[in-house]
């Protein structure tokens, strides 16, 4: 769908100053979200006429560093990558700077003090996603005074989205004492784990009001667990998730999930635009947020037919 728009810009960019080569160091292929992200980047690179060198780091920072180093070796025009972690990039980014290769960060930021090491950061704000989830909850229960029992399914322990989505959510709901997170456990971002953990939650906590899952997949797994326990997901237990992948949107449209915070993997077109500008030496904003929204069941029904991933 988004390829056609990119085509025109591609011919323009290609005509300007020869072919641009971009080295992109992806985190890995740990989730469907990530795969959609990769696909978007590959497709829009093709559409934009940018030659893409792609590498998969298999969730290892050292592999990403190696890949970036090899891009420097191969003298690409621009390097883009989604950092596995926030810290630890100064060395290799300095090397890129010395080699005069501009760097664009995608998906998550790095915590480097020296912001001149990269040109711009394109991506979502995981903390903000957590906040959005929290805000909806606060809004939903604004009339109630009873305690709201929340269970949380966290992402992979220590991973940035898990840390940030937890922090943002806690920040918002922490303001009111009626919200109580009675259990919080990692579900490793997977359906199978999400289901397993939720079943255990249901056994040890008789009255759960709300489930907050750090991604759709864990939420989908948890729905099966809730149904297995004879409860109705979306009614007996309200469910909030993050991501908005197709299966999640379907569940949202079916009323099994109550609210989804979007975290869009479609960074490709924006990234290619930025890359061209950066290579051309144009000024770009230090931070570009992806356009993201939130979905309620009604919005989901409307959005579902055109959902690309």
């Amino acid at each position: 769908g988004c390829g056609s728009g990119g085509d025109t810009t591609a011919s323009a960019g290609g005509a300007d100053d020869g072919k641009i080569t971009m080295g992109f160091a992806q985190v890995g292929a740990e989730s469907g979200w990530r795969t959609a992200n990769t696909k978007s980047i590959q497709e829009s690179a093709k559409a934009a006429g940018i030659e893409l060198k792609f590498s998969d780091a298999q969730q290892k920072q050292e592999n990403q560093i190696k890949a970036i180093r090899s891009y420097i070796q191969q003298k690409v025009d621009v390097i883009a990558f989604s950092p596995v972690v926030e810290s630890g990039w100064d060395n290799v980014l300095k090397e890129a700077q010395t080699a005069k290769i501009p760097v664009i960060l995608t998906d998550r930021a790095v915590d480097s003090a020296d912001t001149s090491l990269y040109k711009t950061f394109l991506g979502s704000d995981f903390v903000e996603e957590g906040r959005k989830a929290g805000k909806w909850l606060v809004e939903e229960y604004k009339d109630s005074t009873d305690t709201v029992n929340i269970v949380e399914l966290q992402g992979t322990t220590g991973s940035a989205p898990a840390n940030d989505r937890k922090a943002g959510f806690a920040e918002v709901i922490g303001a009111e004492s009626k919200f109580k997170v009675i259990a919080s456990q990692t579900g490793d971002f997977t359906r199978a784990k999400g289901k397993e953990v939720m079943e255990a939650f249901l056994k040890s906590n008789p009255d759960i009001d709300v489930l907050y899952a750090h991604n759709d997949d864990m939420g989908l797994g948890a729905i099966e667990a809730i149904e297995g326990a004879g409860k109705v997901p979306g009614k007996d237990i309200k469910i909030i998730t993050v991501d908005a992948v197709k299966d999640g949107m379907q569940a949202l449209a079916d009323g099994k999930i109550n609210f989804i915070v979007e975290c869009s993997p479609i960074l490709g077109p924006q990234l290619m635009d930025l890359a061209k500008k950066v290579v051309a030496g144009e000024q770009v904003p230090a931070r570009v947020l992806t356009e993201e929204t939130t979905f309620t069941p009604e919005q989901a029904k409307a959005a579902l037919p055109t959902r690309p991933y």
Partner: protein, 332 residues
Amino acid sequence: MSSGILTSARLRLPGRLRSAYIPVLATAGLLAAMFVAGGVRYTGFASGQVVLNVFIDNAFLLVVAVGMTFVILTGGIDLSVGAVVALSTMVSASLMTDGGWPPLLVVPLVLLIGSALGLAMGCIIHYFDIQPFIVTLAGMFLARGLCYVIGTDSISITDPAYTAVAQARIALPGEMAVSVSVLIAVAVAGAAAYVLHYTRLGRNVYAIGGSEQSALLMGLPVARTKIAVYTISGFCSALGGVLFSLYTLSGYGLNALGMELDAIAAVVIGGTLLTGGSGYLAGTVLGVLVLGLIQTIISFEGTLSSWWTKIFIGLLLFAFILLQRLISARRA
């Protein structure tokens, strides 16, 4: 090219020992062949710096694999190495950044922690006669768990001295350069090779790997050696962690996930038997280089999707192991 190495070695080596060196020589030959193939296929590949980068990017793995070699030579296994690497980066980063400790204090402390952990595991393995797999697995859980207790976020290291060391490049002729880590790693590998070949400790390691029962009956210090081996591995992992933190200038609990498998694979690809008693440190160095070179080839290939990357790694590994095996079997 590879056969040249083999035949010249054949002329020099005495009688039967020749067969023991064959896996290592085959590995070296194949590695060279792989490099040449890469140079033919990719532009910019056949440069000295690419080789040096393999060292720079794998210095920590090399150090960890050196420790693992000791353990595997005794017939044991150490699954805790990756977690100890992570713990070391985490401890270093939190002490230096949050605690403001000087690196000169932190690094010895980290090395001490790693060695102590190894020592403890070695003692449990030996005195309570428990399989190394399960003890070091518990050690892995423990070290990883301690990382998360310190913090789940990654911590940057900003200490100026540490940063300076991390960014220092030792220039070599021909516009090439290596990092400090490489020097440390090479020194560790050299020292380990010396220990294994020229000291009693080293020979005892081989003897225990050959037969622990016999080593005991021959009056060798089995307890001391076995415990020493796990301590060395703990020390090497901690040092690997220090190098890792120099490499990334940060500490993170999810660092080096699965590195134990890389280290074991490097050792075994280098021709060391997992059952113990047979293998050389040079093999381990080659094993690390093979894994590193595979990575480099992948990134030079540059067009592989995530899954093709994995399949390609598997295929390269298979081709390599198969050739190595066939060459060794024919010559032996």
